[in-house]
């Protein structure tokens, strides 16, 4: 076969590039490789920073209580305070407008009295949104943890033992999967919504694991046929040891990725249920509830609508990007995009080799 001169040169560079990329992973453990790949994923890194900042702000701003412990917030208003409605400086005839000013050259720069404005009766909207975001994050975390655990356990058992156990478990999963999540969520929410967000999340988590368990089962089915499992068995390892030491660490990528996706789905499910009135109910606050309450106020007081939505979107978006970064990091076939710098280095190496 005849190549043009340019193509020959590129082939050589390709080989050199491969060498560079391989050099990067020599002598590193699997975990180090994954972490390094993940840290290079720019969108995921930005999302992690954003999410951490959001979590810090949200959980420290207003009171957060978990059982007997209560963390007091630094924000001057709580969700039950009703200060006077501010009308000064509001556009048109609207009342309780936001005072947040992000322009650093303005004399009002900073949070102001009510950064996100006030609702109908004067509640500070910043406090309400913070509480709502606390609820949403808590729900997401609980659902993710619970569904992740149950899904992993059921999936591993079904995939490892196969046969009758697998059959029974997977038919059970089929039962649950035929019921759309919004229907089961509404039925649960209608009954348990008034018990508080964590109970709601607990019951939703009991039903949210089905998709994950199917994935884990599939992963176990392929992994258990691999040579290293046979080797471990020949060496006399018990089932427990094989599952925990040999198969699970190899399946952890799939699990982590789908749990993150499950969590971003969970936050949308919670807001949707609250919007329909089957999720978190008043006097408790949730982002979905705030949106559903003020959707008609959009033309007159749009901030009542923008801020909760902004928080939902940024939480869900950053979780999604983190999930994407993790997926890329765990994917062994994934090859990093070759940057211009790498290309330059590759051709440099090639020139050196030719010189020798």
């Amino acid at each position: 076969m005849i190549f043009k001169r340019k193509e020959v040169a590129e082939l050589g560079i390709d080989a050199a590039e491969n060498a560079i990329l391989n050099q990067e992973v020599v002598g590193l453990s699997q975990r180090q490789i994954v972490l390094a790949r993940f840290f290079r994923h720019r969108a995921a890194m930005i999302s992690i920073v954003l999410l951490v900042v959001l979590v810090l702000i949200v959980f420290s701003a207003v009171d957060f209580s978990l059982g007997p412990i209560t963390l007091h917030g630094w924000w001057k208003y709580s969700i039950i305070d009703t200060p006077d409605l501010i009308t000064k400086g509001c556009p048109g005839f609207s009342i309780g407008c936001p005072t947040l000013t992000l322009n650093p050259f303005s004399s009002h720069f900073g949070l102001g009295e009510h950064p996100f404005g006030q609702d109908d009766v004067g509640h500070d909207y910043f406090a309400l949104v913070m509480r709502g975001a606390q609820r949403s994050m808590l729900v997401t975390l609980i659902i993710g943890f619970l569904a992740g655990t149950i899904g992993t356990i059921i999936g591993s058992i079904a995939g490892f033992y196969r046969g009758r156990i697998d059959n029974v478990l997977m038919r059970f999963v089929d039962f649950l999967i035929t019921i759309p999540s919004i229907i089961i969520g509404s039925v649960i929410g209608y009954h348990f919504g008034n018990l508080g967000a964590s109970f709601l999340a607990f019951y939703l988590g009991l039903f949210a694991w089905t998709g994950l368990s199917r994935l884990v089962r599939g992963e176990f089915l392929t992994l258990r046929e691999r040579d290293f499992v046979d080797a471990a068995r020949v060496a006399g390892a018990s089932n427990r040891r094989i599952i925990f030491k040999h198969i699970l660490p190899n399946a952890v990528g799939v699990i982590i990725v789908s749990v993150t996706l499950l969590m971003s789905g969970a936050i949308l499910l919670e807001t949707a249920l609250s919007y329909l009135g089957f999720g978190v109910v008043a006097p408790d606050v949730s982002l979905g509830l705030l949106i559903s309450k003020y959707q008609d106020a959009f033309t007159t007081r749009p901030w009542l609508f923008w801020y909760p939505g902004f928080f939902i979107v940024s939480i869900a978006l950053s979780i999604n990007f983190i999930g994407d970064g993790l997926r890329d990091a765990f994917d062994p076939r994934q090859r990093r995009r070759i940057s211009k710098r790498d290309r330059a280095r590759a051709s440099e190496i090639k020139r050196e080799r030719e010189a020798i």
Binding site: S181, L268, I291
Partner: protein, 509 residues
């Protein structure tokens, strides 16, 4: 057969579960029991009799099941709602509404999602790819009710305001033209020089187009006319042929061009027909006629590869028919705007049809339905097509890495053939199965959409059922969605085995 048996068992199990879960989650007689109304005792009694509430839930489930099983011999009975209507009649009223909402959104999401997914996969790691990826993640993270309110505000209310004085201001022309130009330049790609050339051309042409439409007063009185229709038809003929078989195949091109000719010749006669009296029968007749004509032309022009040519010609013929349909719809737009109850604000934010509409003209009513579908469809499409983009992108990338693609390229096949014949077909296999399963799931999204836009479909029934603890109604809704999803899974399996010869369903071990 065995699979069908399993499916029935699954349906049985999940309905049993849901029935009892709902039954224990609340007492439907509660508000009557604590009511001070003197008639309450009587109402309570009759409600208990009517819904057979004296039977405990697990047993009552079998009474419900008996009605469902009776459906096998044609006497489907899903019990009564709380106010004494049969659940089946309520469902029959609601299903077409939801169906209309869901199918159109699903189709658009599918087509757009797959096209964008393919383009991003072919232009992997380009700026266009990054932008689309970012937007698809954004759409993943949007709650539909939030999007819906934004759409109502910005698309409906602002657009209606705009129509009052239908001229696009120069600033917006610049914005639109820039966006279009960047889009096309991103899609076509290539070297830097070519990029800028495409950018410039697209910018200039779209700016000129928008401004001339302004001058023609097109936005308040849109139409294509015979001239644009015939030019666009020729474009369709070339485009379809190029993508599907390549322009080298003269017979396909000739047949498609002949279709374009027929479209042009028949334009005026068709207008007379449309103005005279139209209904769905006439339209479906025309569709069949189009297909027959296409078959005729391809028989005449093609001596070899008849199947491929016929397919191409039929596709371009249908596109042209759709064009004529759109043109006629546009002509209805002006009169529709003037009608009572519309008053120049054609995009509604709520409802599934205009109750004040008095006309029974086919075009007016269809357009009315169309504009009412507009916002909900966009909302549903926006949130569901992101998934298709990601999925088709991922699958196509995986396929493009396969050895047979390298072989096809090494054989010297054209890039079009490699992508359309070898890569796309194999991408479609996993896509079909995902799509079929997804279609059933979209109904869940429709529950919220219906609520936001005030439609009365399955979602409304479902809301009502939960709020009034109407068990029979809830089970009716569930029965529809669950059987749909079970059926969809079955169809997906069968399709999979039909498309992929390596997989056999129930063919022994």
């Amino acid at each position: 057969m065995r699979r069908l048996g399993t499916l029935v068992v699954i349906l049985f199990g999940s309905s049993f579960l849901l029935y009892n879960l709902t039954a224990i989650s609340g007492d439907p007689t509660e508000n009557l029991r604590f009511s001070t109304d003197p008639k309450a005792a009587y109402q309570l009694h009759s409600l208990i009799r009517q819904l057979q509430l004296d039977v405990p839930p697990p047993l009552r489930y079998f009474l419900w099941l008996k009605g469902i099983v009776a459906g096998l011999v044609g006497k489907l009975d899903m019990g009564l709602t709380r106010d004494g209507h049969a659940v089946t009649t309520r469902l029959i009223q609601a299903i077409p509404t939801t169906f209309r909402l869901v199918t159109i959104a699903a189709l658009i999401a599918l087509v757009l999602g797959i096209i964008l997914g393919i383009i991003t996969a072919l232009r992997q790691y380009s700026r266009f790819d990054y932008v689309v990826t970012f937007f698809s993640f954004l759409m993943f993270s949007l709650p539909i009710f939030w999007v819906a309110v934004l759409l109502k505000q910005f698309l409906a209310i602002r657009f209606n305001d705009f129509l009052a004085n239908a001229k696009i201001p120069p600033l917006w022309i610049l914005v639109f033209a820039t966006v279009t130009a960047v889009f096309w330049a991103g899609v076509i790609g290539g070297e830097r020089k070519r990029f800028y050339r495409v950018l410039g051309t697209a910018f200039a042409s779209s700016a000129v187009a928008l401004e001339s439409l302004n001058l023609l007063n097109w936005y308040s009185n849109p139409r294509l006319g015979i001239f644009v229709t015939s030019i666009a038809s020729v474009g369709i003929a070339f485009g379809t042929t190029a993508v599907s078989v390549g322009l080298e195949m003269k017979s396909a091109l000739k047949a498609s061009l002949a279709m374009a000719g027929v479209t042009t010749i028949l334009y005026y006669p068709l207008q007379t027909l449309f103005n005279h009296d139209t209904n769905f029968k006439v339209l479906s007749g025309l569709v069949i006629l189009t297909v027959l004509t296409a078959i005729g032309f391809s028989r005449y022009f093609a001596k070899i590869d008849r199947r491929v040519v016929t397919r191409t010609t039929i596709i371009s013929g249908l596109f042209m028919g759709f064009l004529v349909f759109i043109d006629r719809m546009m002509q209805t737009w002006g009169p529709y705007n003037q009608m009572e109850g519309v008053n120049g604000r054609p995009i509604p934010t709520i409802g599934e049809g205009n109750p004040q509409l008095t006309s029974h003209d086919f075009w007016i009513t269809t357009l009315d339905r169309g504009v009412h579908l507009f916002l909900p469809t966009i909302a549903l499409t926006l949130i569901s097509f992101a998934g298709y983009i990601r999925f088709s992108r991922g699958t196509l990338l995986e396929v493009l890495n396969q050895d047979y693609i390298r072989t096809a390229r090494a054989k010297g096949l054209s890039e079009r053939t490699v992508i359309v014949r070898h890569a796309l077909r194999n991408t479609m296999i996993p896509l079909t199965t995902i799509i079929v399963v997804d279609l059933a799931g979209i109904i869940g999204g429709a529950i919220i959409t219906e609520r936001v836009f005030g439609w009365h479909g399955m979602g409304t029934l479902f809301n009502e059922a939960i709020n009034t603890l109407d068990l029979n109604l809830l089970m009716g809704v569930f029965f529809c969605t669950a059987s749909l999803s079970v059926l969809a899974n079955l169809v997906a399996d069968l399709l999979y085995s039909a498309l992929d010869p390596r997989i056999r369903v129930g063919g022994g071990k």
